[in-house]
């Protein structure tokens, strides 16, 4: 409805403007491998580079465009940000790194936060000055949030937090954490005793310890709370309503509800990219792209990639989904992450002997991008519910197969 006020001409002029700006301002190759997701920021060098890029995007008016103008945004309809994001994707610019702030905390604060909270947090999220992290998962509980053990006990105008969180992306850099902690142990249902906080990280009693990934890089931490005292005012919503707020966040994340500040948070890999690699390598004395087996594998991947894109489109037609309703949306994560794993592995296979070398080797193809990308891909087939759990979900909820 908002969008009607803006003519097609205005939007296409805007698209031109973004495209032109990106062409001129897209950062030069920094000489080190840039991350494909915000989970791969392992050094200050990388962080500073991305921080500078996000600041430039925001200060030039291409980030947070739909957020309120009094808090760092421009109050524009979401279509403008969408166009800007499309152009960023097209030109393969670096990611906007402050993902938890831009896509999760920010929208929630705009949605239910007080004026004071908006003033305090929003602008810093956009500028990249205030880095945010997420504290949901805990050691030994994987993605089962109902089992959260970290405690937050009320003590006058504070909560005292004890426990630990794991897989905290940028935990070592973050100023704030969206924290899910248990405020009540006696609830009948295990989700009822959870509360949601905008917790400060740079306070006594909070410490982080970096986790080294299979890639050899850092990017995640384990986060420890030992009698950490956080102001009671950092509680979002009511005590005990943490679970429903966490679910609300997932809606922003999936784009089902508008509100995310925008910017690209992931640089996807496509079969077309792997074809480019194959063009430069040989199999059995001929170009890989002339090798029948390589061609067959690449075509299989192209078919699956196209089916993924088309599935999103088909899902919008109820009549084309009546046999097994919800099959497409519920299997989307499983399908995409497993496809990406296969694709990235195959990008190594087409390299021949060069597949053996890694980031840091001077002659590595694309500086070892694919080697690292393949290993990093496991964060998606494991995080957010492993592929095996996803297959259980699809089997049980779509096909009606019995639980284990």
């Amino acid at each position: 409805m908002h969008n009607n006020k803006h003519s097609k001409t205005e939007l296409s002029l805007f698209r031109k403007k973004v495209s032109e700006w990106l062409r001129i301002n897209k950062p030069k190759d920094p000489g080190f491998l840039l991350p494909q997701t915000f989970m791969e920021i392992g050094s200050e060098q990388v962080l500073n580079f991305l921080r500078e890029w996000q600041f430039k995007l925001w200060s030039s008016g291409f980030l947070g465009m739909s957020w309120p103008s009094e808090f760092g945004g421009q109050g524009l309809p979401p279509i403008f940000q969408k166009i800007a994001d499309e152009e960023m994707k097209k030109q393969k610019v670096p990611i906007c790194f402050n993902v938890i702030g831009l896509g999760w905390a920010g929208p929630l604060i705009i949605d239910i936060g007080t004026e004071e909270e908006k003033r305090k947090y929003l602008k810093g999220i956009l500028s990249g000055d205030d880095i945010w992290c997420q504290g949901f998962s805990e050691p030994n509980h994987g993605s089962d949030l109902g089992s959260i053990q970290t405690k937050a006990e009320r003590s006058q105008d504070s909560y005292i937090v004890n426990g630990s969180k794991i897989w905290t992306t940028m935990g070592n850099f973050a100023k704030y954490m969206i924290l899910l902690a248990r405020t009540n142990n006696d609830s009948d249902r295990r989700y009822d005793g959870l509360s949601f906080f905008l917790a400060p990280m740079k306070i006594p009693g909070v410490s982080t310890s970096p986790i080294r990934k299979i890639t050899g890089d850092y990017g995640f931490t384990e986060t420890f709370f030992t009698d950490a005292k956080i102001p009671a005012s950092t509680l979002m919503g009511e005590e005990g309503h943490g679970w429903s707020l966490a679910m609300k966040l997932l809606q922003y994340e999936r784009g089902a509800e508008a509100g995310a500040a925008g910017g690209i948070s992931i640089i996807p890999t496509t079969v077309e990219d792997v074809v480019e690699v194959a063009k430069t390598t040989k199999k059995d004395g001929i170009s890989s792209l002339k090798d029948p087996i390589t061609r067959d594998e690449l075509i299989k991947l192209l078919i699956d990639q196209k089916a993924i894109y088309l599935g999103e489109r088909r899902a919008t037609f109820n009549e084309l989904c009546m046999d097994f309703p919800n099959s497409l949306p519920l299997s989307s994560k499983l399908r995409m992450t497993e496809f990406s794993r296969r694709l990235r592995q195959y990008a190594l296979t087409v390299q021949g002997a060069a597949a053996a070398v890694y980031v840091g080797d001077k002659k590595a193809i694309q500086s070892g991008f694919w080697q690292r990308a393949y290993l990093n891909n496991f964060s998606t087939t494991i995080g957010g519910g492993t592929s095996q759990i996803q297959a259980n979900i699809v089997g049980e909820h779509v096909l009606g197969l019995p639980k284990d």
């Binding site: 077309e272 074809v275 792209l289 029948p292 061609r295 067959d296 690449l298 075509i299 299989k300 192209l302 078919i303 699956d304 196209k306 089916a307 993924i308 894109y309 088309l310 599935g311 489109r313 088909r314 037609f317 009549e319 084309l320 046999d323 097994f324 099959s327 497409l328 299997s331 499983l334 399908r335 095996q388 297959a391 259980n392 699809v394 089997g395 779509v398 096909l399 009606g400 197969l401 019995p402 639980k403 284990d404």
Partner: protein, 374 residues
């Protein structure tokens, strides 16, 4: 590499046809009925054919000036899918392809002569194969004799040849491809040699042609493109039917996994069975998305590169998915699955038949590689 066409439309025509096809197929077919028809000579129920004719589906793709519905062949995709989903034995895909071919390639008088009877319930089929290679160039020759031609040779594995009134034969004149419209009464019964098929619900025969006199009016002069296109449309119909068959295969597996107990538990609770079953669903979803994409973009004229890619991809994916589904259906039924009485028998045999029809998945991927990489 530019092949980012991601269009899927579901037209009002398709929607309407989809609803009635679903109901009609469910009312008229299931695996029990399919088994009963195995023993019949023609392999299908002529009453069902008459009803399909009444519904207008025999001419759904044909222009209304020739008695059809003018919906285009895309509108038949949901029908064929539902036929697969109920294992309906019917020579409908063969018929569609024959009428589509005349609609695309015939001249005015050929269309006027043959399309109205095809819409009215006469059955058609197309004879493609000179050998077992779906990718080979046509071989059968027409030899000029005075004011007509003589056709001598053999066509292999012609689908539904025995029940067809009109058989369109792919042949050549001086190496140029032609399609020859042959009415079945021009052939002697002993010229048709029924083959024993792995899928007993299907019918096919070899045809021996001995000095058959062909008039110029029976000949549709073709091009490499139209031969390619009609095979691609055949691939697409096959893929649509396969998607339906995967669906009924999957439901049969799920039924068994949710009722059969072993070691005190429903076997569907074991992840070794649950996860491959989910894999079947995912592969079926992929095939279905590709099929309806192809149905949304195929042209009534020469197929664009996008459409060719979509048809090849549909067939490659649907055949692989059905092969996997049929194979697992037998295995997951255990000892029952090894018996003739278990419906998994129907599915695994259909899968092997469908896999080769219009070229196997590797063949289609090879064509895709040529289109995309060369």
């Amino acid at each position: 590499m530019e092949f980012n066409n991601l269009k899927i439309d579901f037209t009002e025509e398709q929607s309407m046809v989809n609803a009635s096809a679903k109901e009609f197929c469910a009312d008229n077919s299931d695996t029990k009925r399919a088994r009963e028809l195995i023993d019949s000579e023609l392999g299908f129920d002529t009453d069902t054919w008459d009803e399909i004719t009444q519904l207008g589906w025999t001419g759904i793709n044909i222009d209304d000036q020739y008695g059809g519905m003018s919906f285009g062949i895309s509108a038949a995709i949901p029908i064929v899918e539902h036929m697969g989903n109920t294992m309906m034995s019917i020579p409908y895909p063969s018929h569609l392809l024959a009428s589509e071919l005349i609609g695309r390639l015939g001249d005015q008088s050929q269309k006027s002569q043959w399309l109205p009877p095809l819409c009215d319930g006469k059955r058609g089929t197309v004879a493609f194969l000179d050998n077992e290679d779906w990718g080979s160039e046509p071989q059968l020759k027409l030899i000029k004799k005075n004011d007509h031609y003589l056709m001598t040779g053999e066509k292999l594995l012609v689908s539904d040849a025995l029940s067809a009134d009109i058989i369109i034969v792919l042949a050549t004149i001086d190496t140029h491809p032609v399609f020859v419209i042959v009415e079945s009464h021009m052939l002697k019964p002993q010229d048709l040699h029924p083959r024993t098929l792995i899928d007993e619900t299907k019918r096919a025969a070899d045809i021996s042609l001995q000095n058959i006199i062909i008039e110029e009016t029976q000949i549709m002069h073709a091009s490499h493109e139209i031969v390619r296109d009609i095979k691609l449309l055949g691939s697409l119909l096959m893929a649509a039917e396969s998607v339906g068959v995967i669906s009924i295969t999957l439901k049969t597996i799920v039924d068994y996994l949710t009722t059969r107990k072993q070691f005190g538990k429903l076997i569907g609770s074991y992840q070794s069975l649950k996860h491959p079953t989910v894999e079947i669903l995912l592969e079926m979803d992929s095939a279905k998305s590709l099929v309806y994409h192809a149905a949304s973009i195929i042209e009534s004229g020469t197929l664009s590169i996008d459409s060719q890619i979509a048809c090849h991809m549909s067939k490659a994916k649907a055949s692989d998915a059905l092969s996997f589904a049929g194979d697992r259906a037998v295995q997951f039924h255990g000892g029952m699955g090894f018996t003739y009485d278990c419906d998994a028998m129907l599915f695994i045999r259909r899968a092997q038949w469908a896999n080769q029809q219009f070229g196997d998945p590797q063949y289609h991927r090879n064509q895709l590689a040529k289109l995309i990489f060369d």
